[in-house]
């Protein structure tokens, strides 16, 4: 309990979580297409505005969970309704709330059938996603984590592309299969912690080494699939390609972050010794993901697939940054999670806008669009530059910090720059595939196919993309406010980590290499 | 060894000897008179049982057999009850009345459904 900074006043976090859910009710009653669009936009906007109050009231100096609420839920099992944010989760909460209204805008004319149902799915998604980021009780976390699957499954399955059923089932089963072992791990922790599901109590307990390894693997599978890390990524391209634009954006911007958030929130504090012990494998998997994602993206003809594979690479950078276990890497990773959410989300929106016009995602059918859609390609160019980490854009800051962390001495890789060197080609590859796409779209031939009938972006579409561009430059040019928000939490996480990682290893008589 | 055991052993062994002897004796000494009626398999009114084996019997036979079984079992239940009625007292009596009443409802059901009407 002393890890919580209880919020005695207005229950802001609960409001953020349950407002979207309450917003579902009018949609169930009024089955009107344009009403449901405006209503959902209004609800998500209110949530976004309310979430900014988090920033104003956030205390950057404390490492406790702020705005916390603590209510008893199921007494007999000792399940509580506990929520709270700290420096690690606050940015992800804000990212979620800000992206949702833009998703509604992006679906304004893209979605043509069963609009109220679509909006209901979006609102339920928002509740579940916000809940996952702020839940501090494991059952609450798990329930929301799983509950998220169903609306996403429907988003892909009902409004998706031609292979939607394959993609949605693969997404559902893959993710579900990942999280099952996590449930076993959660229950084991519950038993080991005197029948408590309270997450902060489970951290820094120094479980025995063997238990830590098993726990780490159980959690790793769930999070690695969600990220997705290299050998577990195959659901991602399928889901991204078939999902409607809003679905792709939510998937890329928010859902993928849950995996990396899970590593930070659970894997490191609960199983520090196992993290150290298994760190090399995770790091090389990340490198493999970076290189693999880059090369595969280079070969894609489908724009959505290209961006999906680039996500695999970018998320590889994020896991790399987390598992080098130093301050630069970790802060870079959290920042890069936000950057990836902004940039990749925006790129999916761009592809969606082209798709709405040409009904094709093929790169070859979008050649030379630049001549007729100057505003559009301006946006696209900025987001592409951001995607490969061009200096001045947001991803540059994140990737720079991560690479700095990778080159720095850490627990295992003393005076060894192999890790950093191995990740460098990923950055180059990103530039290659992004510039290839940009070149075709902006300067490609316009005769075949004939693009002259294309209209440029309308006000709504510009309004959808502009906030993304704003954040691309804000984080790119002045990242300090963002890093300040997370700094004390990250420092505390690493301090605790270094204090605890040796105990179980020493007890298991494993000498640190 | 108790006398009862020896006695029962004698009875069983005696039976084991006598029964085969009797079977063999019937075959050897018994009169064998062939005739049309004598050669029929059953005298149950089913008719000619030689021929097609998949002929259908009227369902009335089965119904009657089942009903017989139910009321037969009722009688079987009453024997041990009747033997120990003094020990069971009024409680035992009321139990049996309840049992009979339940069977009576069954009988009423059967009558009303016309199961006993042999059409």
């Amino acid at each position: 309990m002393d890890q919580l900074l209880l919020n005695p006043g207005f229950p802001l976090l609960s409001t953020l979580i349950f407002l979207p859910l309450a917003g579902v009710i009018p949609l169930l009653i009024v089955k009107n297409d344009s009403f449901s669009r405006y209503w959902t936009l209004a609800v998500t906007t209110v949530v976004a505005v309310l979430s900014l109050l988090l920033i104003t009231g956030f205390d950057k100096t404390t490492v406790k969970f702020q705005f916390a609420e603590y209510h008893s839920w199921v007494q007999s099992l000792n399940i509580q309704y506990v929520v709270g944010v700290d420096g690690i989760s606050i940015l992800l909460v804000i990212l979620t709330t800000l992206i949702m209204p833009l998703c509604v805008l992006a679906s304004w004319s893209y979605i043509k059938t069963r609009i109220p149902t679509f909006m209901i799915c979006l609102l339920i998604m928002e509740t579940a996603m916000l809940g996952v980021f702020v839940a501090l009780d494991f059952v609450l976390f798990y329930i929301l984590w799983e509950a998220m699957l169903i609306p996403m499954y429907l988003l892909i399955g009902i409004w998706g592309g031609p292979r939607k059923i394959y993609a949605s089932v693969k997404f559902f089963l893959y993710t579900l299969a990942g999280s099952i072992l996590m449930l076993v791990g959660i229950i084991w922790l519950y038993m080991a912690n005197h029948y408590s599901f309270f997450i902060p109590d489970m951290m820094w307990v120094d479980y025995s080494f063997n238990h830590q390894i098993l726990l780490f693997l159980a959690f790793f599978l769930a999070f690695a699939i969600k990220v997705p890390m290299f050998p577990f990524h195959t659901w991602l391209p399928a889901a991204h390609v078939e999902a409607p634009t809003a679905g792709s954006v939510i998937l890329a911007s928010i859902l993928l972050k849950m995996g990396t958030y899970g590593f930070l929130r659970f894997a490191l504090p609960i199983t520090p010794a196992a993290t150290v012990y298994l760190m090399p494998y995770v790091l090389w998997l990340s490198i493999a993901g970076i290189i693999y994602g880059g090369f595969t993206a280079l070969a894609q003809q489908d724009m959505k697939k290209l961006i999906a594979y680039s996500s695999v690479g970018h998320m590889g950078f994020v896991t790399l940054g987390i598992f080098v276990l130093n301050i630069q890497g970790m802060e870079g990773s959290i920042l890069q999670m936000i950057n990836h959410g902004v940039t990749t989300g925006a790129l999916f929106l761009c592809v969606g806008m082209i798709y709405e016009r040409t009904h094709s995602r093929e790169l070859s059918s979008a050649t030379g669009v630049g001549k007729f859609m100057p505003v559009y390609v301006t946006f696209l160019a900025f987001f592409s530059l951001s995607s490969f980490g061009f200096p001045g854009t947001n991803s540059f800051v994140g990737e720079f910090l991560i690479l700095a962390g990778a080159f720095k001495t850490n627990i295992l890789f003393k005076h060894n720059i192999a890790l950093g060197l191995a990740a460098i080609p990923g950055a180059v590859l990103a530039a290659a595939y992004m510039l290839r796409m940009l070149q075709k779209i902006v300067w490609g031939g316009t005769a075949n196919p004939d693009q002259s009938w294309l209209t440029d972006l309308n006000i709504r579409e510009i309004a959808t993309l502009a906030p993304f561009l704003f954040f691309v430059f804000w984080i790119g040019l002045g990242p300090q406010p963002f890093i300040n928000l997370m700094h004390s939490s990250v420092v505390n996480l690493l301090d605790q980590f270094h204090a605890h990682q040796g105990h179980a290893l020493a007890a298991a008589e494993l000498i640190l290499r | 060894m108790s006398t009862e055991l020896i006695l029962s052993a004698i009875i069983f062994i005696g039976l084991a000897v006598i029964v085969p002897v009797l079977f063999v004796a019937t075959v050897i000494f018994g009169p064998r008179l062939a005739g049309k009626v004598k050669n029929e398999a059953y005298e149950s009114g089913v008719g000619n049982v030689i021929g097609a084996v998949d002929q259908k019997f009227s369902v009335k036979f089965y119904l009657l057999a089942i009903l017989f079984l139910i009321f037969d079992i009722e009688a079987v239940f009453m024997y041990p009850w009747a033997v120990s009625i003094r020990q069971l007292g009024w409680f035992g009596f009321s139990e049996m009345v309840a049992f009979m009443l339940l069977l009576l409802t069954g009988l009423i059901y059967i009558l009303k459904k016309g199961v006993l009407n042999w059409r």
Binding site: V74, Q75, S76, L77, R114, T117, V139, Y142, I143, L144, E146, A147, L149, I150, L154, G157, I158, K164, I165, S168, V169, F172, L173, L176, A177, I180, L181, L183, V184, I187, W188, Y190, M191 | F91, L102, T105, I108, Y109, K112, K113
Partner: protein, 471 residues
């Protein structure tokens, strides 16, 4: 005396209701709608009586005259509540079902009441002959219910299979009873328990053999692994509400007596734990394999019933025989009953005349034509698959927790793996309902009862998930 009366009152109400319905049907003065209302009232009354008896603790009603043959504990009481609720909702959905299908008579409701009375008695049995008689009261009524549609060939096949194999089960049970009686001179559970405590389970060969036959009979009735083959055809042949009733109430009753028997003594349980461990695993995965291959909804649900039997066996393996409360088993049974009854209630008015919509493909686009029914079915399927925040998830959480607590981590992991496999066939129906365009109108001439029943159960799926249980 009034206390004992109150304890047996639910049984009395249901039995009297069954006889009343039977006689009224013979006198021919009751319409089908009225009969369903009467049976619903009977179940509701009995349910209330059962709740009222809840304040009384662990007692043996009329112990002096029944010689301790019956026992009422919190476990049997809640099992009885589940069974009565199953009876109530089956009557309710049957009312809609028989608007479309015309083969019912008033005896149908009477037989459901008879079956429920047998089940109630079965949960309370503390003696093998009582258990056998109540098992047969239940089974005989259900045989007739399965074959109620006399013109339908699959029903005839189903009832024949079920009757034959059910008779086998009965024979096994009798054989076990005979062996135990031969060895111990008693058929009472308390006597068996004393004998095991005195001599040790494995030193009583007659008891070992008898327990084997009896447990086989139970495994048969709950469709556990080597004895599961009948279930798919039988469930397929029976009419929709009867299938739902069999899948839920029968399973609850048999699992109640199974648990009561197994928890007699830690010696008996520990001797069987290893076998039940493998049976549970094989039941789950065998059931999943069967379910994946099915094209008919009822057959899929039947096979998924096998899988759920596997989960319940995990719970049986995991519970402690020393202080047995059975709350995990009952919670899962309740969660499973609500979801299964719900889906069968929805099917009872959606399948239409002669159950013409029975394949997965027949439900294409249901979500567009009947969004609320489709949403309810989705809720039930997700609950059966154990996706939060439904009752099925909490049930699985309790089962897995108790398995881990008992040190059976392998079972816990395999149980979860199996629940992932089961998503495969549950998703198929959701896909058909939501992701395809409708090919027909799904017009049915049903009464309000079926949809209302579905709605109540859909709400109950969430309501039960909030109800806490101590492991």
């Amino acid at each position: 005396m009034t206390r004992d009366f109150l304890l047996l009152l639910p049984l009395g109400i249901v039995g009297a209701g069954a006889i009343l319905l039977m006689l009224r049907s013979a006198l021919g003065k009751l319409t089908l709608e009225a009969a369903s209302l009467v049976s619903m009232c009977v179940f509701a009354l009995a349910f209330i009586a059962q709740i009222l008896s809840g304040t009384i603790g662990h007692v043996s009603p009329y112990g002096s005259v029944f010689n301790g043959m019956l026992m009422v504990t919190d476990f049997t009481r809640v099992a009885g509540l589940i069974i009565l609720a199953c009876g109530f909702f089956t009557s309710m959905s049957s009312q809609s079902y028989f608007k479309e299908n015309g083969f019912a008579t008033v005896e149908y409701y009477s037989l459901i009441a008879f079956a429920v009375s047998g089940m109630l008695l079965l949960t309370m049995s503390q003696e093998l002959i009582t258990a056998f008689i109540s098992l047969e009261i239940m089974s005989l009524s259900i045989y007739i219910l399965v074959g109620f549609n006399r013109t339908c060939v699959t029903c005839a096949e189903a009832v024949l299979k079920y009757l034959m194999l059910g008779a086998f089960t009965g024979a096994f049970f009798t054989m076990g009873t005979a062996l135990i009686y031969g060895g111990l001179n008693s058929t009472k559970f308390s006597a068996i328990s004393t004998a095991i405590a005195a001599h040790g389970f494995l030193h009583l060969p007659a008891l070992v053999g008898g327990a084997f036959f009896i447990i086989v009979a139970f495994l048969f009735k709950v469709a556990a692994f080597p004895f599961h083959a009948w279930v798919v055809d039988v469930y397929d042949g029976a009419s929709v509400p009867v299938t739902g009733f069999m899948a839920t109430a029968l399973k609850t009753a048999v699992f109640a007596i199974f648990a009561n028997f197994l928890m007699l003594d830690p010696g008996l349980k520990s001797a069987w734990v290893n076998y039940l461990f493998y049976i549970a695993i094989l039941t789950m995965f065998g059931g999943n394999l069967i379910a994946i291959g099915q094209n008919t909804l009822k057959r899929m649900l039947a096979a998924s019933g096998i899988v759920h039997t596997g989960y319940l066996l995990i719970a049986l393996v995991a519970v402690s025989a020393d202080h047995f409360t059975g709350s995990v088993i009952l919670y899962y049974l309740a969660a499973y009953a609500v979801s299964t009854l719900g889906i069968f209630a929805a099917l009872s008015y959606l399948t239409g005349n002669g159950e013409m919509r029975s394949q997965f493909d027949d439900f294409k686009g249901l979500a567009k034509k009947r969004p609320y029914s489709a949403a309810a079915i989705t809720v039930f399927l997700l609950s059966m698959a154990g996706i939060p925040p439904t009752a099925g998830f909490m049930g699985k959480l309790y089962i897995i927790s108790s398995a881990i607590q008992a040190g059976q981590v392998t079972l816990a992991v395999l149980g979860i793996v199996s629940s992932i496999l089961s998503m495969w066939y549950y998703l198929r129906l959701i896909i058909n309902m939501y992701f395809h365009e409708p090919e027909e109108t799904f017009e049915t001439e049903c009464s309000v009862f079926g949809p209302v029943c579905t709605l109540i159960l859909a709400v109950a799926v969430f309501a039960i998930s909030l109800y806490p249980v101590t492991i």
